[in-house]
């Protein structure tokens, strides 16, 4: 096998088979003899969650992860937002001719290790290769299926006045980490991406039943974008308090220097929850018992009013946090 990806690796012929067997079957623990165009899974029935996301992050490797970890966790977390127990993932790779095979292997291995750790197998996939210059190294699209327990229905439409808004930890870590890396100040940065699977943290809240109204991972566009969408979908006002937002000191300082707003920075391991006011304390204590939720905090509340997101500053003033317009940070995930 040559050390770099060639167009022949995408031909569908012998080189493709060898690439798939050597890199992906090996990393994902796939039994090649049983592989087929579509995976078949047995289900007990009920509600199926189904999601997909493409990942184009640049650079491919960063402190705390790589594109494969992002792709795995991103889709697991999207399933979790529906309250689903993830059952299986699919992974499709678009590879630029010339990619170092070793890079691809590292990425696939990361995904395989996450599959083993979480018990969520990667059951089907695809590989395409395009000419040098027609893609940037590798793009990954992961899709996932999961089972939603019958009684759960997390949806922003269920957000109601009085709800507490909870975030599961510090905000902006992933976006700041990638930006610092690109800006070449990585050497001074200790911030790593927060990229991690959150499905067990979300399911730990299932004991609160339908007191949990909405769940969303605050990825591209950040907490500010998700809460704007929630305000619009719920038709209510959401007010968050600057002083309650968990932000790492280094992220806060770096954002000041770079002119970035942590509220708009991507997170890859943080969830937002809208929870009935009376259950907020219980939700917090449950979340904080989970390694991914140690820094969980109530950051705001839902008020009756026009659909908008307000930020209460530490001086007591209020300003509208708009939906961001224009380019924030391209290829952050």
């Amino acid at each position: 096998m040559p050390a770099k990806i060639t167009l022949a690796h995408g031909s569908g012929g012998g080189m493709s088979s060898r690439l798939i067997a050597d890199v992906f079957y090996d990393a994902f623990g796939t039994d090649g003899a049983k592989a087929n165009d579509a995976a078949v899974l047995s289900l007990a029935g009920g509600k199926l969650a189904f999601t997909t996301d493409s990942f184009v992050v640049s650079p491919l490797f960063f402190p705390g992860g790589n594109i494969g970890k992002l792709a795995f966790c991103g889709t697991v977390n999207d399933l979790a937002t529906a309250g689903a127990k993830p059952v299986a993932l699919a992974a499709s790779f678009i590879i630029e001719e010339g990619l170092e095979l070793e890079e691809l292997r590292l990425i696939a291995r990361t995904m395989g290790e996450l599959a083993a750790e979480t018990g969520i197998p990667i059951v089907t996939g695809d590989t395409k290769v395009v000419e040098k210059g027609s893609a940037d190294k590798v793009f990954i699209t992961t899709s996932g299926v999961g089972i939603v327990p019958g009684e759960l229905n997390y949806h922003p439409g269920r957000i109601a006045p009085g709800d507490a808004i909870i975030v599961s930890g510090t905000i902006g870590d992933h976006g700041y980490c990638i930006t610092a890396l690109r800006e070449g100040i990585a050497i001074k940065s200790n911030v790593t991406s927060d990229c991690q699977p959150l499905h067990t943290m979300v399911s730990s809240l299932s004991s609160l039943g339908d007191g949990v109204h909405a769940v969303r991972d605050a990825t591209r566009g950040g907490v500010g974008t998700v809460l704007n969408e929630w305000a619009a979908q719920a038709g209510q006002e959401i007010v968050i308090s600057e002083g309650l937002l968990p932000v790492l000191d280094e992220v806060r300082g770096g954002c000041g220097m770079l002119g970035l707003e942590p509220l708009y920075l991507a997170n890859e391991g943080k969830m937002l929850f809208a929870v009935s006011a009376g259950l907020a304390d219980r939700a917090l204590s449950i979340l904080r018992q989970h390694p991914a939720g140690r820094d969980a905090a109530v950051i705001g509340r839902v008020n009756p009013g026009e659909p908008r997101l307000l930020l209460e500053t530490e001086w007591g003033t209020r300003r509208i946090v708009p939906v961001p317009v224009g380019e924030i940070l391209p290829r952050i995930c």
Copy 2:
């Protein structure tokens, strides 16, 4: 909305929302108010088929279809190879900055029309935008879920000596169409891509029960590659007859001129079946009643013997059809 895609369309902010609402929700008939990160589907239980494929075809538009049609049909057909009734698709778009919005709209509309015609909705999706030069116009990854009737188990491992090999129509049309277009002889070509959904054709064979052993769409790598894989997975010899292969006259002539082998050309609307010998005639007559199977033909048989694919020429000689090595036709699908 500007006429070309900008990085801001991929920001996750306001421009992203407008792009998604304007291009995709509109084309796919999505109720934006109900949209969420993961789609939730109700299932009766049983076996779930799950598949994914990326599409990178160049050019985006060709006689008989476009990348959106390929992406829709390719995933529907992969579900069909498992005997599944397709339930829903997911579609994820990686878009190059600068793409004409109108091209994206045409592609999305084609997918939406196919969803309406087939009754298979596109229930979830994602959009990423990368800088000019980091992708080539647009890549689409579609994933699909479907329900497999309990009794069906199509798998190459079930192929047995005596089985008839059936192809559902003329071979190489898609590969030839794209090649002709690229070689600039399109003006002389009347061959259109065979890209079409095949799930209803496959399910029409369900009355044959487990007499149908394996089903596969002969896409990238063509009939020659699939039958080599089948021979290897079944551990048997497959012999096909040159004189029985349905090939359009123009494809045969053009392949001669271009030095191509129709057996290795991609098909996007043709299925291969391995069927118990005694059921071959019934299978053929059922297939020929379906618009996509009018030219269905028995092209060969399975023999006990070492795993390989043989071609019987019209002169009665036999040669091995090898697994193709090296680049065949990049970005054919």
